[in-house]
Symmetry: C2
DNA sequence: ATACGTGCAAAATGTTTGCATAGCC
DNA sequence: GGCTATGCAAACATTTTGCACGTAT
């Protein structure tokens, strides 16, 4: 289940945020992109939707999204990248360390098992995707 | 199984790297610290072992460690932090999003299950810890 | 109408690099 | 001795902020 722009926009509206053109542009790009983007790439693509966006707004939008569990900042090979999170329930992000593709994976069984193991170590999981690094089929 | 300084130093020696005092200082701090450190904190603590270390060396040492799977850079709340990885086999890092504590967890069963699920999505896992975010016992 | 969001440019951070020197092996 | 690694400071990159203006609700 990939993130959809409508779902994210709906969640923001619920949260009392305004849906502005620049925000919409950023969200649409995030949802249309299966791989990790860095903030500058994100800006470039967002400009195709709304040319006046500035980098500061990209950062500010990412803050809002991240605080609401709607996106995630990931550091890959030392650089900051971003993905949208489609789902607030426990799920996994398979991240290709070569090309940056991110695949959302759901696996309820291991999810429960992991949750239990983590709990035995005193941890209550966040509703934040579990990051798994690997190499995707295409990159091998 | 936590990372030990000797193990890391041994691995570096094998890899043809020189064991210098600044590197040793950085490694000892990393292994002595159960929570995520940012590079500046790491530098400060390393200075207690070897006062002449500079920040650039901390970064360079982290690069070497990370390239060899001996440490891991993690972005927590937007800031870069670092942990040592004690083990090259598949394992988990339980990361407390409040205090930054990292607990290494091993769970061979879910490990295998995850590996299989990932493989079904075309992914071959890296020997890189799986990141799981949550809140530790103390912070609740 | 009235906040909230924005763009711009400047400031604050964070990271990398060049180069002469130090110190492992 | 030779070559890797270091420290320092400068270059570079990234992220945040202040402020006057625009615009969603």
């Amino acid at each position: 289940m990939q993130a959809t722009a409508e779902a994210i926009i709906h969640a923001l509206t619920e949260g009392g945020y305004r849906i502005t053109r620049p925000r919409r542009a950023v969200i649409e790009v995030l949802c249309a992109t299966p791989e990790l983007l860095d903030p500058i790439e994100l800006l470039d693509r967002a400009k195709a939707h709304y040319p006046r966006v500035g980098l500061a707004t990209v950062y500010r939008t990412l803050d809002v999204l991240e605080q609401n569990g709607l996106a995630r900042r990931i550091s890959l090979n030392g650089k900051t990248r971003v993905v949208a999170c489609g789902n607030l329930s426990l799920h996994y992000h398979l991240i290709c360390v070569r090309c940056g593709v991110v695949v959302e994976m759901h696996d309820a069984d291991t999810g429960r098992a992991l949750e239990r193991s983590a709990f035995e170590h005193g941890f209550a999981l966040e509703h934040s995707p579990v990051e798994i690094r690997g190499v995707c089929a295409k990159c091998r």
